[in-house]
Amino acid sequence: MFRTAAILVFAACLLSAAACQRADPNAAGGVMTVAGSTSIQPFAEMLAEEFMAGHPEFNINIQGGGSSAGIRAAQNGAAQIGMSSRNLKEKEKGLHETAIASDGIAVIVHRDNPLRGLSRAEVAGIFAGDYKSWKEIGGEGGTIHFVAREEGSGTRGAFEEMVMGDREISLRALVQASNGAVREIIARDPASIGYISLGLVDDRVRALAVDGAEATRRQIMDGQYKLSRPFLFLSREEPTGTAKAFIDFIMGPRGQELLSSEGLIPGGQ
């Protein structure tokens, strides 16, 4: 009897605790949430890991959710820092923005694909579904399997803006829900092509030159390779407490060095 009662009481406590306010994120020992773009997420996780190793008193919690969710989370305070991997739209302005880095978008193919480069129009044509076979664009092999990100993703948004222009990505495109997932598909299928964050390109896939410019940091910084976008940290107000300490760490030499070593272009430039 008492045991049943105890269980009921415990359940009631859980539910009432649920109704209470969550812990204050800025207080010492509080958890700070950073949420948004899944393109930034792996880098943010790495930065948080490094930051907390040096400052065990802080507790940072990194969440995905996508750029739009990150912007909303920053606006309504659901997260202390929102992450966006695209520029804010006019109606989203008004947040405090810190560009922690910028990132190239690489058009990638399988390592064994002999193709080295394409023009932006050709890339757009592939994703619009104009070309059926690799031969039609001077490559080798059969049918092109093109992999896009899902609707709402920041990477897709940036790709549409910079490559597709007013054309639409074909509905026949294979769709994956993260940059990592796109890369894994490309790494396994020799006939596939996709686009991901330049920082996530590894040696199993090849980043194509676009409009004659190699997808490298140097070319992005020189303004030759045009497919790049900012990584933004957003907050409702001027960051304070844990948020400020974390952003200061990222913008400091150690943070920027880490981002740079991961293939991103440091935010100061």
């Binding site: 359940a11 109704a19 969550r22 949430t33 996780e45 969440q63 659901a78 829900a177 940059n179």
Partner: protein
């Protein structure tokens, strides 16, 4: 139509059935052995006791074990009293009426709702509407809904299986209905109820769609029920789709499968014992 000799068709059918059964069983056996063979070498103490390094490409799965346990405990702490209470009411306190049929039908429907719908519900209700955020609590509440029908059904069966004469004895000795329930019915039905709870634990551990949108995917060890946590299944999903860290993925899968199979085997073993006791 060709008429086959009955003896020949008997042989033929038998042969077809044997080979299809063999195929089915070997597919299922293959899945388990394959994952265990690939995963067991990774599955050491180091792997189980350390956190993830480099977003899961290295290190271990300790934080995810903690999250999984937390979420499962929260889910069952909520679902068990609700489920067992419902079962007690349906069996001991009321006759079969239109109202009880509605309750049963509702529980049946609840059992049929796909976990992604529960995830959608948990996301909009717990994460956004109640402002619990991505947290162990949101995930636990969502899973509680998922396993509630299982607990109701198994508890009901267990309670019904308690022999009527035991209740009669308790009542004739002057016991009230509640005393009969707590002192006679529940102790008798306990193994069956525990079986239901264990099967639910197995489902909580293996679930992905309902948790990924409610508990989130934070890499750290959760420090409270308001913190986000990545369960083993979610971690495995992320490793499997977003990385080429197959070793880590197989290790995590092996840990998942071993945990679930052990729990389910224990549950079946208990169920078997109960069935023998009453039949």
């Amino acid at each position: 139509m060709i008429r086959l000799d009955p003896a020949l068709s008997q042989k033929l059918v038998r042969w077809v059935l044997v080979s299809l059964t063999a195929l089915t069983v070997s597919i299922l056996v293959f899945i388990i052995t394959y994952v265990l063979l690939k995963g067991l070498p990774v599955l050491g103490w180091e792997f189980l006791s350390t956190g993830a390094v480099d977003a899961g490409r290295g290190g271990g799965i300790f934080p995810f074990i903690v999250s999984t346990v937390f979420i499962t405990v929260v889910a069952l702490a909520i679902a068990t009293p609700l489920g067992v209470g419902t079962a007690i009411y349906l069996t001991e306190y009321t006759r079969e009426t239109a109202a009880t049929r509605v309750v049963r039908f509702a529980a049946e429907c609840l059992a049929g709702i796909p976990s992604i719908i529960l995830g959608l519900f948990g996301f909009i209700t717990f994460v956004l509407f109640l402002k619990l955020g991505w947290s162990i609590l949101s995930g636990g509440l969502t899973l509680a809904i998922m396993v509630l029908p299982t607990i109701i059904r198994t508890s009901e069966e267990a309670i019904i299986a308690v022999p009527q004469n035991r209740r009669d004895v308790s009542t004739s000795l002057g016991g009230t209905r509640w005393q009969t329930v707590t002192r006679v019915v529940l102790p008798g039905a306990l193994p069956g109820i525990v079986t239901g709870i264990m099967l639910s634990v197995g489902r909580c551990i293996g679930e992905t769609a309902a948790v990924i949108f409610t508990a989130g995917s934070a890499l750290g060890t959760p420090t409270s029920i308001f913190a986000s946590g990545r369960t083993l299944a979610v971690h495995f999903y992320i490793l499997a789709t977003e990385t080429d860290a197959f070793g880590m993925a197989y290790g995590t899968a092996a840990a998942l499968i071993i945990a679930i199979l052990t729990i389910n085997t224990l549950a079946y073993w208990m169920m078997h014992r109960i069935m023998r006791k009453y039949s």
